[in-house]
Amino acid sequence: MTTTATTTESTPDAQVPNYNPKSESAGAKRAKSTLFHIVALALTAVVLYPGLWMIASSFKPNAEIGGTNTSLWSNNFSFDNFVTAMEGIGGVSTLTFFTNSLILAVGAVVGTVLSASVSAYAFARIKFPGRSIFFGMMIATLLLPFHVVIIPQYIVFQQLGLIDTYVPLLIGKFLAADAFFVFLMVQFMRNLPGELDEAARIDGAGHVRIFTSIMLPLMKPALISTSIFSFIWSWNDFLGPLLYLNTPDKYPLPLALRLFVDQTQSSDYGAMIAMSVLALLPVLIFFLVFQRYIVEGVSTQGLKG
């Protein structure tokens, strides 16, 4: 861009050599862009510093974390924290915690994608009696804080004898209880041209066929966003597993992390931080693999609007 600008400027047609507004604006642009990048880099550094601190601390001995120790890197570099972290807690291996987290997260992704897309199709494309009322009710559940429903929900699952199983944590995902995702998909589907399913209907396709062959492929960006969010939310969920799971063998990572810090006894910050780093990896990988689809999703949504 800038090179083409300079070549046009240097053409002999330019009759006013003393004053060239184009080159000045290019210079000003460059200055602005430099300033912008400096500010952006500074902000990035501020935002990323805690992450850097966490990674650096995971290689420090426990005694050098926090307190009067202000240096980022330690001279006593070691992998001891990771070794302790992998040993597990109270006879439960750390791999078990990872597996449990993975089961819950994958279950949440599968459940949410299946149930939310089907419900969204119904809300967006099928005119059934009371549709807008039901849609309103679904949106209203977004306004209901989780803490209000905890106890009634707990009582229901307790009476059904489902405490200490993954059922209470996953059943909602398979029943499209996450109104946010349904809403997201409904909005997405409403932006898809109705002519597409009309054409399919003329060709004799029913709802199942329209949904699977027309809608699902077009909804890929929305499905990907939903997968990423439900994976990360499930991976980070602390309160749900805390309330519904009793046996340490079934704990996911967020519960296990907390067990390294016990304020009534001595705390192993090193192991906790090392395990946090390990716990971050799957989410990071998941995000890196799917992030280009997020951008894609946003841009296609923008075009359709």
Partner: protein, 430 residues
Amino acid sequence: MINRRNFLTTVAVGTASAAALAACGTGGGTSAGETGSAENPVTINYTWWGNDDRAERTRKAIALFESKNPDIKVNGNFTDFAGYWQKRATEAAGGGLPDVMQWDLSYLRDYGQRNQLLDLGTVKINTDAFDKSLLPSGQIRGKTYGIPTSTNAFAVYYDPAKLATLGIAEPTGKWTYKEFNDFLTEVGTKSKSAIFGSTDYTGVWWMFNIWLRQNNIEAFTEDGKLGFTKDDMKKWWNQTAGLRGTPAIITEERVTQLAPKSPFGSNVTATEVTWDNFMAGYLADSGAKELKLVPVPSDDPDNLGLFLKPSMLMVASAKTKFKDAAARFIDFMVNDPEVGQIFKTSRGVPASKTQRDGTTFEGTDKLVVDYEKSIEQYLKEAPEPPIVGFGTLEASFKRVSSDLNYGKLTIDGAADAWFKEAEDLIKQNA
């Protein structure tokens, strides 16, 4: 497809079968609860908070219990301290508390008054080996809800190595508040502010509570009201009025910078007032070779206001189906000498004499046990379990006094702020 009528039938059938199942569960309940046999053992749930180390020790204790009591199986679960209480609150509301639980004194009155906990006076637990001054702390209006596993006492910690380098004589623990303040100032000035005397000890609730006891005032009355006045509180915070902002007391900014580690654990202060079970944590954090404990200051040498506080209690759920098994497990955990040998002082100093005598204490453990022995003559009856919402009051006491150190509040303003919060809270829970 499910139509409306079918749906209703399904729900009805479901509810009926759930009720039938529930009936099976509760059937055959006697006053002692269900009992098991070696071939057909009953399973009780036990839950505790704590780290990896406690989980290991508890597992060993459970294995020992099961081998001695083949008719009972114990299913052990654990979480961290903060999550522990969120989980219990939900379970209590849902009626699903575990059979036996490790408990904290701050929550005893709350759950006891709501009839969530079993009156342990109605089952067989041997408390003969317990110090009689200790048991009231597990009792509310004559009913025993908790049996202490172990005890803490309040103390002044100091690092002898630091005092030696500064050329300051080690304290004997026989000191008035004036002498204690002078000592803190000496540390701050002789080290040229490199080491502070201590954190502001007037910001520690239990230190305030002990000072009240030294002046023969109970912090809370029997009917759950405040037993002290605003003037008492102002007088207390005035104790260190001359020390705030001097090298005797570490600044609040510095304390915040050091978090989550304590100033004493970070080797920034020479002394600290707190419970004697923090020893292991302080040693690990500070890397000090040795730390020592002496009694708190008092202006009345015969009344140090000290008492033994249960560091933990064992309680049972009021709804447990296995009262007898639960009682046997609690009795085992608090009295058995082998259990003492497993836990050492990691729960605190064992409360029962049989357990204490059956345990060999070495190193750190011995320091703490010896300290509690040395103050035996000064110990008075433990206070009743704290009022409901005590945790909030303690936190706000800490917050208000740190504002005092920041200079955001005057002593009068701090006392007004705390009293308003306390009175609102007491009214709410009345």
